[in-house]
Amino acid sequence: MAVIDVDGLTCGYGETQVLTEVDLHAEKQEIVTIIGPNGAGKSTLLKAVMGYLYPTAGQIRFQGEDVSRLRPDQRVVQGIAYVPQLDNVFPSLSVEENLRMGGYTLAKGTLKQRMEAQYAGFPRLAERRKQRVKTMSGGERQMLAMARALMTEPDLLMLDEPSAALSPQMADEVFQKVQAINAEGRTILIVEQEAQHSLEISHRGYVLADGRNAFDGKAQDILNDDKIRQAYLGGQVAEADG
């Protein structure tokens, strides 16, 4: 049974339809990357899975259950977590308060325990417990954003462009972290514009174009497919081969 199963999803904002009959699934402990040009609907797909917009057609099943009509906060309880590309932390809250909010649905005892687990996983956050997020660097924020989302120990973690605007070293660190989270048994959905790195750590990938499925397959096949590379991973061909 797939952890997440998006079936013929059609949705959009008001009159504007963004996704048309999109299919996507991810199994337990899979890393799946969604690539595609700007405006293809990648971010919208994640938002729809989180519950910010409801399908006009199709279904979203999580662990076999239809969650299409649940609110985002209800899907969090089911085991879905999401890290948006921008504004993915609470800037005026401290690091600790951000984690507390990540664990909003947890009982008090569990909350403390999970918080310590996140500090162990992200030692740099532990040094900054009381610090306001406003004053932190982009890399530290991205780490905090992931730690916040992991507080509920989700079965499905969705990351929207986790490496965007980060230095290459910071991006490496983020992807290592993603692999470590995956190794704990979690399914991960990543949306990436610069997808090379993300596909390298993924099991499978999807190509979205104009709000529709354009291609899907093993991540390695996508990386090796010259047509896809040229169309969607432009300019990275020579670099990866050399």
Partner: protein
């Protein structure tokens, strides 16, 4: 001197209670709630009715007035603002204006236009640090300070308070954290409107109760909220403090030294008391020019 400080603190107390509620609703819903100040007469009239018609002790009827305002805030959201969540702030603002008029005129229809007083015996002022104050005035200051401290504790130490700040920061991310934001919004309406109700009761204790008592302070209340940076509760407290002092100090300064500069030779040159409301406007304009995000407000993208 001490008298000016006391008068300023009394003014700041009522302004702070009203401005904090206004700024709270703004922080999560991002629209200026012009109906907010109407919870002041609502709270005052309910407390008055409790104390006179029902014959309850004043403190108890004040609590009832405050609770009724909190509930009325939630009701206002349910009936009006909840249906307009995705609309532009202009739309919400106009709806708030309409709701404000409706509350104000309903109160006028029920209680009549003439000013009323809480049934309190006339009090002889006492001397405190060289200023003459009444017990009621001390109660006003004390209850406002207590409210601000409790509110600070709520925001800092409770799950609900942190969630309120989180929802103000980023409502979508709050939802992705498992927070049912509509419940937080309800709590914000309750607390914000209850504070306004208490502000109205205190205003009524200090002066009089009349239907326009909320609307008549709308400028200083908005000014205090904007002065501190709208959306920031601590900013609103600071803004109310600054404005309370500015109004009272402004009226007590002898501007004769300025007069001599422009050739007006007089021994006394005070701002007439009738111009007191203008002080808030002058401050508001100055703040909007110099620091549009307010004293405590973060610059928004």
């Amino acid at each position: 001197m001490a008298q000016i400080i006391f008068d300023s603190l009394i003014r700041s107390s009522t302004l702070a209670l009203l401005a904090v509620g206004l700024t709270m609703v703004y922080s999560v819903l991002r629209f200026p709630n012009f109906a907010h100040v109407e919870f002041a007469p609502l709270g005052a009239y309910v407390a008055l009715a409790g104390a006179t018609v029902a014959g309850l002790p004043l403190a108890l009827s004040a609590v009832i007035g405050i609770a009724v305002c909190g509930g009325a805030g939630i009701l206002a959201d349910r009936l009006v603002f909840q249906h307009l969540r995705d609309r532009s702030p202009i739309m919400l603002m106009i709806a708030a204006f309409a709701l404000g008029i409706a509350i104000r005129e309903t109160l006028r229809a029920i209680f009549g236009p003439s000013p009323r007083n809480f049934p309190l015996p006339l009090q002889a002022p006492m001397e405190v640090l060289g200023a003459s104050v009444t017990t009621v005035q001390l109660v006003i200051i004390a209850s406002a300070v207590a409210c601000m401290l409790i509110f600070h504790g709520l925001l800092t130490y409770t799950k609900l308070g942190v969630a309120m700040r989180a929802a103000a920061d980023n409502p979508n991310l709050a939802q992705a954290s498992g927070i049912f934001t509509e419940r937080i919004i309800r709590a914000v309406w309750f607390i914000g409107s209850a504070f306004a109700g208490l502000g109205g009761i205190l205003l009524g204790l200090d002066t009089q109760i009349y239907p326009m008592m909320g609307f008549s302070v709308i400028v200083p209340v908005f000014c205090a909220a904007i002065l501190g940076g709208i959306g920031s509760p601590y900013g609103a407290m600071l803004g109310a403090l600054v404005l309370g002092f500015a109004e009272n100090v402004g009226l007590s300064i002898n501007f004769a030294f300025l007069g001599s500069l422009v050739g007006v030779d007089r021994d006394f040159l005070f701002i007439p008391a009738g111009y007191k409301p203008a002080i808030a406007f002058v401050f508001l304009i100055a703040v909007l020019l110099l620091r549009p995000q307010g004293i405590m407000g973060a610059a928004r993208r």
